[in-house]
Structure formats: structure tokens, C-alpha cells
Symmetry: C2
Subunit: 325 residues, 2 copies
């Protein structure tokens, strides 16, 4: 039976968002709540179930293809298990079984980055593209691979960590414990630190002003905002970040030869300078024949996770029903 | 019909090797010739045809599944076209059609690195492994990806260039025109340069001695040979090379999460120090959950290309005949 809706859930460290989504990607109903940080995994599962009930109220169970849940965690997709979850107490928790046991629907879980990539692939910037790489620039630098028309997860489902490519051996310490990784130069903390360093110089005054004159309060957002206003020091920080991203992506392009690179995440969507500089580096340094790769902004913004989780639920449903392949 | 043999051809810059190969990978007949460097593409095609006739003499056409040809070129596998060939005059030459027109057999062409990976996958170090990365250390640093049980070639068939990952932004110039790429630190020219630099110091005397006392004549092979004899300066060069390889592979492991990394090529097979140091770096710096990746030496040596090209011919034959999938 061809179902009308799927429910997509995007569990973040701060917020959980849910949506009732039609097959073509229209978000017909939305709900969100703050992520509970007390009472462990059960409070999170309760919040997820509350949101599912809220957005699916008024639908018939038979109209709903299933529930897709994106988690900020490393997921073994085949086992549907949560292998590691840094920011929420979900490591080893069988989220799928807990939700399934209380909702009469099929449930599928995946990494939030993969969900966003599936969303962009079905409804956004990568529609119809078989081979693309998604990079999300936020507090961390994440990513996902879409190869031969499918998310590629690696042997244990842990692939896609674009932020942890080494771009400078022995370079800046990365939050992961490594050295010289992309994230060490491009995550929010790195951009904020560059903003604070610039604030100590005459040229960096514009960034400090946005932080109320308190250089120690400068965030990555202040840097991006100052750049929007044409502040030279801020523009230089973003240009440098874009150059580093571009060099990392030269390697990605040479190894994976994607058609498209989609850049999302709060920073990625707010700072076109980063994309422009990255694109110029790829154009200059990627091996011949691979430079036709396009670098574009993600289109679905905050909805990518919800839409992608719903798309995943549709896909799993259709596979079960033999509607695909 | 289930055929007994396939012919594998490995076209190199120096030599062309051919083999008559049984389904299980036994090389029943071999032949090789120097690669002709005069008379353009036709001389190369003539040499290939001569070798095919030589190794398949005495077989019946119906016993042979087809001809697989590995070329040191960037191949669009779906179009079966030679997109770029740096060292031989084959760019834009329809090698497959030229060979097919003179041999009553199905012909398939692929990049030589992919052929080697297919060979290792079917008959060598990666037998039964669905997700692995192959790295070849030689004059250049090449590679190939095997994902979900198939060679992954990227959107234009140009993927796998592990040697052109950026490991040090703004670093040493790479033969490709980029900066700080893995190949700039690990190719034969880089190892030879390190050997020559070491020869200028007291400790590097052992390497120079192998080059007949002429430091300017030192090659990568002299460095490897000196290391075999326990020379400390040579061991240090290989250790440094292994550290750089390891950091590049940290990025590969974080992005692709492979089960296995197979290291081949003349240098890769002769210098276990490089592998050991690379493995230690991965173990230390890869993200949690991905460190169980194994780093092993290729098993098929110089035969990988011929065996892989033959395996590809078997595979194409079986797909045509509907014996697979």
C-alpha cells in the first residue's frame, strides 16, 4: 500500500524536532521541544514519542509509512544500534526498540548527518545526484557520503567524518584528540578563537564591538555577523577557514570524485565566504577532470534532518513492501 | 556457459604483462614485453594483441570469458573510454574498440589501480572483504576504493587518488601541481630526495655507499635497501614516510571507515617500516570505533594487475550471461 505520510524526527543536543512529511517532501505539521538533559535516555525517548503522537494526530496508522529518527550519534545502521553518542546518554541504548514498543509503526534510526544528506538528496540541493558529499559546518564539522545513489556508511556505519581529515600534520589540537584535523580550524570554537585573537589588534575592533566590547565573549556567530557588515578582519578569518576547507576537500575530491559537495550547518549556511574560498581552492588544486565538482549551499536548512529522517522511513517502508527494486 | 579462462593484461609505463587466468586465480600462462614508446597508440595496441594471442594460444574461444585490460590511465568505466593517460599516448584512444575489432572476444578496460584492487579482492589480501582501501606506493602514490563489495570509481570514474590527499597545507610541491599532498612526501622522488639529504650527514653514509658513494645517484630503492641492512638514517626516513602515510590514512579511515587497508606497490611491499608506522598512527589518531581497521601488505605483488584484469573479465562475462545478480 502506498502511504501518504512519514514522521521524521531530528534529535539534537539542544532541541528535538519532528515533522509529518508527505512523499514529495512537504512538511505538513511540525513540533519541537527542548532535549531533556535529566533522567537519562528514557526522558529523551518519552519526548520523541510525545512529538510523534503530536505530529501524527489525526492521521490513520495505515497512512503512515513509518518513523525515521536521526540521532547525533554513531549508528550501526544494519544492526540499528547506537554505538557512540557523545552529547546525549544514548550510547548502547536500543532507541529503535524503545520507540517501536510504544508506537504501532515501523521505526528506523540513522545518524543525523546521514539524515540531512538523505533529505538534501531527496528534496534539496542534491536532488537527482548519485554521488555527493555533504559537509556540515557547525560546532563540529560533520559530513556524510552519498555514493552510487545511496548513503555510504562504511564497514561499521561510522563513515563520513569529513571534519577529521588531517590537513596539517602535527597541527592544532582537535576536540577528538587528533592533531591538525579540519575541525580544529573550522569548528565554532576555532572561528571564535580566531575572532578573539583578531580583537586584540586594531583591525579586529568590529568583531569585539558585536560582543559588547568584551573580546573574551566573541563567538563564531560574531565573526560571521561582522563579516556580513564588511569587517575586514572577520572576512579574513572566514577566507582562511574557506581555504582550509578547500584543501581538505581537494583530498576528498581526488579520492571520491563526487559530482557535488553540499555545505550545510549553521556556519556553512551563514558564511558564503567560506564556500567561495573553498571552491576556489578546489578549482586550483584538485586533479584534472575532477574540478567540475560543484560546491553549493544546503537548501533545507534546519528542516534537512526531519525531512531526511522521513525520507528514510518512506524508503524503508517501500523496500519492505517491495515497491523499490 | 561457464568459461574456464580469462586473459588479464596489465599495461605499465615500462612493461606490458599478460596472463591466462583460471577462475580461481591460477595463472596458467604468462607473457610480457616492453611497452613500445614509438609509433603512438597503435604500437601499444599491437603489443597487447600479440600478448593476448600468445597466452591464449591452444585455448578454444568459447573457453575464454573475455579480455580484461588494466591501463595506467584515468578511465570512464561506464563509457569504457580513456580520459587521461599521462605516461602513454592513449588519451582519447578507444583501446577497447581497437582490441575488440581484432580479437573475437569481449574486452573490458579499467584503471590499473582498480584492477590491482579487484585482484587483491578476489584472490589476495582482501579476499571476502566488502569495504577496503588499496594504496600503492611506487613512483607515484595511487589507490583504489572497494566499497560495499564493488570498486567505487566516483562520478566520472576518477576516484581513488589517495596520493593526492592534502596532508600539509602549503607544504611540499606535488608532481600534480598541488601542495602538501601525500605523494609529495612518499613517492619514490621524495624518498630519494630524503636519502640524498641524509647522505650529506655522517649518519647517512650507509645510503650513499649503496649508490656507489655518489649521493646524487641515490634512489628510493637505495633507501629501502639501506633500511633492510639496519641503517639508522634510512630507517628514520621510512619511519617519517610511514607517519605521513598514517596521518593521511587517519582521514581516510574517519571518512570511509574501511575494514581493511591493503598497501601494495614496489615501495609498499619492500618497506614494512612504512606500514608499521602508518598503522601506529591510525591506532593513535583515528576516531574511536574505526581503529579496528587492519593495515596489511598486498599479496599478489606484480601479478595483482593481471589477475585483477582477468577477474574483471570474468565478472563482466558472468554479468552478461546473468550468472551473477
Amino acid at each position: 500500500m502506498r502511504t501518504t505520510y512519514a514522521v521524521g524526527i531530528d534529535v539534537g543536543g539542544t532541541r528535538i524536532a519532528a515533522g509529518l512529511v508527505e512523499r514529495k517532501g512537504r512538511l505538513v505539521k511540525e513540533a519541537r521541544t527542548l532535549t531533556p538533559h535529566t533522567d537519562g535516555p528514557f526522558a529523551i525517548v518519552d519526548a520523541v514519542i510525545g512529538l510523534i503522537n503530536e505530529v501524527s494526530a489525526g492521521t490513520q496508522p495505515a497512512e503512515v509509512a513509518g518513523i525515521g529518527i536521526g540521532l547525533p550519534a554513531q549508528i550501526d545502521f544494519l544492526k540499528q544500534s547506537v554505538e557512540f553518542c557523545t552529547n546525549l546518554p544514548l550510547t548502547g541504548v536500543d532507541v529503535r526498540a524503545l520507540v517501536t514498543s510504544r508506537i504501532r509503526q515501523d521505526v528506523v534510526i540513522d545518524n543525523d548527518g546521514h539524515c540531512a544528506a538523505i533529505g538534501e538528496s531527496r528534496f534539496g540541493a542534491a536532488k537527482g545526484v548519485r554521488d555527493f558529499v555533504m559537509v556540515t559546518l557547525g560546532t563540529g564539522v560533520g559530513g556524510a557520503l552519498f555514493l552510487d545513489g545511496q548513503p555510504y556508511r562504511g564497514s561499521r556505519g561510522l563513515g563520513g567524518e569529513i571534519g577529521h581529515i588531517v590537513v596539517r600534520i602535527g597541527g592544532a589540537p582537535c576536540p577528538c584528540g587528533g592533531e591538525g584535523h579540519l575541525e580544529a580550524y573550522l569548528g565554532r570554537p576555532a572561528l571564535a578563537a580566531a575572532g578573539r585573537a583578531a580583537a586584540g589588534s586594531y583591525r579586529g575592533g568590529g568583531i569585539a564591538k558585536l560582543a559588547g566590547g568584551d573580546a573574551s565573549a566573541i563567538t563564531a556567530e560574531h565573526v560571521v555577523e561582522a563579516a556580513r557588515a564588511g569587517d575586514e578582519a572577520a572576512l579574513e578569518i572566514l577566507a582562511d577557514a574557506g581555504d582550509v576547507l578547500g584543501e581538505a576537500l581537494v583530498g576528498v575530491v581526488n579520492v571520491l570524485n563526487p559530482r557535488l559537495i553540499v555545505v550545510g550547518g549553521g556556519i556553512g549556511e551563514a558564511a558564503p565566504e567560506i564556500l567561495n574560498h573553498a571552491a576556489a581552492r578546489i578549482d586550483e588544486h584538485a586533479l584534472a577532470g575532477r574540478r567540475d565538482v560543484k560546491l553549493v549551499r544546503a537548501e533545507l536548512g534546519n528542516d534537512a534532518g526531519v525531512l531526511g529522517a522521513a525520507a528514510l522511513a518512506f524508503q524503508e517502508h517501500d523496500t519492505r513492501e517491495g515497491l523499490h527494486r
